[in-house]
Symmetry: D2
Subunit: 296 residues, 4 copies
């Protein structure tokens, strides 16, 4: 995330051509969107500005919409080159998987070709809200849509993409929620206390790979000093938290364990479906049992 | 439960008048039911015999059905005198509540009068499948039925009553399920072992009283030597299991507790809705947390 | 809790006699304590001021300490008249139990007499940190102490009493922790969401009575808008939270329940041992199972 | 497991030389053990016969014990050739890991050489009670023992090996416990019922490999028709049960899930430390939470 370069107040006050220059990059190669909403200023919230821009797109004639959609680059190349893998971990929120393998590149190429042949425009998806596996699953699902459903799906994704860009570019009141949060805590139910010093690893679990996103250690409250993921959309996909509770209990006098301990590294595998949601995935554990749940 | 006095084989082989004499008491003051099914012998299962008798009742003319229903005594008196309170605990499976209070007797009397006025026959319910609170709830619910629905409800209850009587009276293959089971076990999740020596009390929880049904202690397997209830229908109603885990953990070196202990007597309150079901209600506990569930 | 009437800054700056007048009421009938610490000003924290006062007491000659202890009124009368029952609920933090019964008053009288005979001074306990049952238990335990242990115990309690009074009277940095917190939340693990609209009751469970402390309802986050108890010491004793989850699940389409529901009002009984601690006692529930734990 | 070829009764009754011929193979190349216990017949239990044989070994002069230990083949070769990998899955209880890799073979060779140099006899371990990882861990641990401790450890292992062989060879009363059991069940806590039709996989988790031991499906009781492992020692080591509850809940109308489901394949990773123990590792689950524990 880069620091927003403008405030909503400034955008509301500046001359029309400055306004267009400031926000047109949000909608790829479509300055007409910014131009159309300039006269609607002032906007009370960033969300209201974004909604006005999306309304402009949706109310355009079908030909113009299709041309606009067509201005978007093909996903295959973007995935390969940039969005999914080229950005630094900091920008990406640490997807952790390597670049596309030859097989995956080939699969994307085939899907792109089939999609363009069926719909006549490129497959559009808000990449920042998905893991690679999730993109592939969406790709295959949407290929079976009819043309009208798919045009709507493309606009929905464009709404998500441009919302993220606008939130990145503009500061002000009423920013739409574009970030999620993944957090955890560990409770030692032998002693009824938060478990400090427990090593936790977070992996993304892909069909063909497993990528380490984060390693951390619980603090005195049994929590991590920072959320496991925050400040960005949670990518739809499958994850695994590994809690090293064997080492934790081995360090306590009172715990009755075995050799080897019944529980050592506890894997909690779960999927995220709401990129803007809050997923709290705690662990309540003894050396012999545990409970986990989606909390909030 | 008394020992069955006849076997199905013997009933199948005996002269018709002996057969009628042997089974007619199952259907109150209705020897015609036994007479009608005598010719259908031999019956392969006790359930088949019972079904034949109930078919006879259901296929009788409406007048005869109503007369048959009317032969049943009014519940109020039965409840007061016998079924709910007069039997010894052993016979009753330990309902544990005292005799009807004056208020409750009055409430039953009012319900009986209202019911008879509306339907023209007495309220019939298989008392052995209900706690007193459940009988009252059913009474009030069924008062709002229309006549036909309620006639069917009365026959359903007569089916349940006579099924229990027949199962008590006749031994043989294919006895219908008329008994339920309530069981528990206690798991010490600090040490990953069954918890022995845990005192457990079972109460029936009524709207106006709380009756002790059983006190017991877990054995080396963390279970009770006998099910908490078995060999009879489970009475529909609300119960509470009290697990004395504070005393249990106080006796162990490894448990980290507080003074007073966070958990001492753990109450688990639940209702039974299926008299012929199996309810397994275990406790997984540390001094600081517990989990319970309906298991099987 | 009343609003503190002075700031530490003001106490540090005022003339000695004003200082003594302002803080002497903290230590019953012992202006010499305030006088002794006046010269030690300025104090950096409220805790430092309190520690200086307690050090003065502890370093006094035994005779003076005993005289000081003897200035405290007998508990029996205080309990009866004021501390435990006479204060309004708001002042007391809602203990909820009624005034002493004749039996209890008699029991307190007997304990007071036995205690004074054995030790020669009245039984002192920081009443605001205990339920009535806990006071009685402490009373009986401490009666078996030897004189020296018990003199130390009395001073410890005086430290707790005066700490509370000083924190009530003086605002400023470094106030010692004198308040605890009891909180809860309800998670619907059928739908993986906080459970809103769940009625919760909190009772104090005494040996001879059950007092309602609070009734509330969970908000959209499955939490209560305010902690169940906060802003005061948690009274050492036994409590019961009742969660009305039967009504909650009955209002949801997706929940599979029974009639009557297996779980209706779930009682969670627990004891508090640390008046200044944070007790988070949540419920994770489906219509058929639940988990609770001491969280934080 | 092969069918025992003799009964204890027959062994007790046969001539001494036949007895020796029948049981000498239990103790490798040491017919003197069988000869020494022949005169002690009749033995009341298989355990008593085994104890007599082990007593004979332990009471032998140190030189004879060392010679006896030395008759045992080196583990490296056995592991490579036979015990761990050469036997069929049925005989082995399905260890599931492939043959030793070149690296592992090299590691065993180095350990064998170091061990023989330090102690002068081969490393002996009851292979049927361990996974390969567990054998390596034991190997490294025991290398740091002193000579006397390690001689005792070798005899303990010989006791375990010969006990298994004797139990395999002789039928009769009082067989010592040589088999363990691993079982599971799945409870659907949304509906308070056992979960039928849930696919379960059991893997052995090794440091360098993951071996599938079993795939099965829960029956109407939420259990597997046969225990996951039984009739043999449980190999000390780490295992993972995978419960396919996503597919299960997707098939039910009432479950509220997400897309993708929060929980799909739930991995439960645990270690077994008692080869003759009973490990019951159940899963209590909704689409959003689960609990597991070592039960019994």
């Amino acid at each position: 995330m880069t620091k927003p370069s403008e405030t909503l107040d400034a955008l509301n006050a500046m001359p029309a051509n400055s306004f267009v220059a400031a926000v047109e990059k949000t909608f790829e190669r479509a300055p007409w969107v910014a131009e159309a909403v300039s006269g609607g200023r002032p906007y009370g919230t960033v969300a209201a500005l974004h909604e006005a821009m999306m309304r402009t797109v949706r109310q355009a004639p079908v030909d113009k919409i299709l041309a606009f959609i067509n201005e978007h680059p093909e996903l295959g190349s973007r995935v390969k080159r940039a969005e999914l893998t080229g950005h630094s971990q900091a920008e990406q929120g640490g997807l952790g998987l390597d670049r596309l393998s030859a097989d995956e590149f080939e699969r994307f190429s085939r899907l792109n070709a089939a999609y363009r042949q069926k719909f006549g425009f490129p497959f559009i998806i808000c990449v920042r809200r998905h893991t690679r596996d999730s993109i592939l699953r969406q790709f295959e699902r949407r290929l079976s849509n009819d043309a009208e459903t798919e045009r709507a799906a493309a606009l929905t994704e464009i709404g998500l993409i441009t919302r993220l860009r606008l939130v990145d570019a503009v500061d002000g009141p009423g920013k739409p929620a574009t970030t999620g949060r993944l957090s955890t805590h560990v409770l030692d139910t032998v002693s009824g206390r938060p478990a400090p010093g427990v090593k936790i690893a977070l992996h993304e679990i892909g069909a063909s790979a497993r990528g380490l996103l984060k390693e951390t250690i619980t603090n005195a409250d049994g929590r991590t000093d920072a959320p496991l993921i925050s400040g960005e959309p949670l990518r739809i996909g499958t994850y695994e938290l590994s809690f090293h509770i064997g080492a934790y209990f081995a360090g306590l006098k009172h715990a009755q364990s075995a050799d080897p301990p019944f529980l050592d590294v506890v894997p909690i595998r779960f999927s995220i479906a709401e990129p803007e949601g809050h997923y709290h995935v705690p662990l309540l554990a003894t050396p012999w049992n545990y409970t986990t749940y989606r909390g909030s």
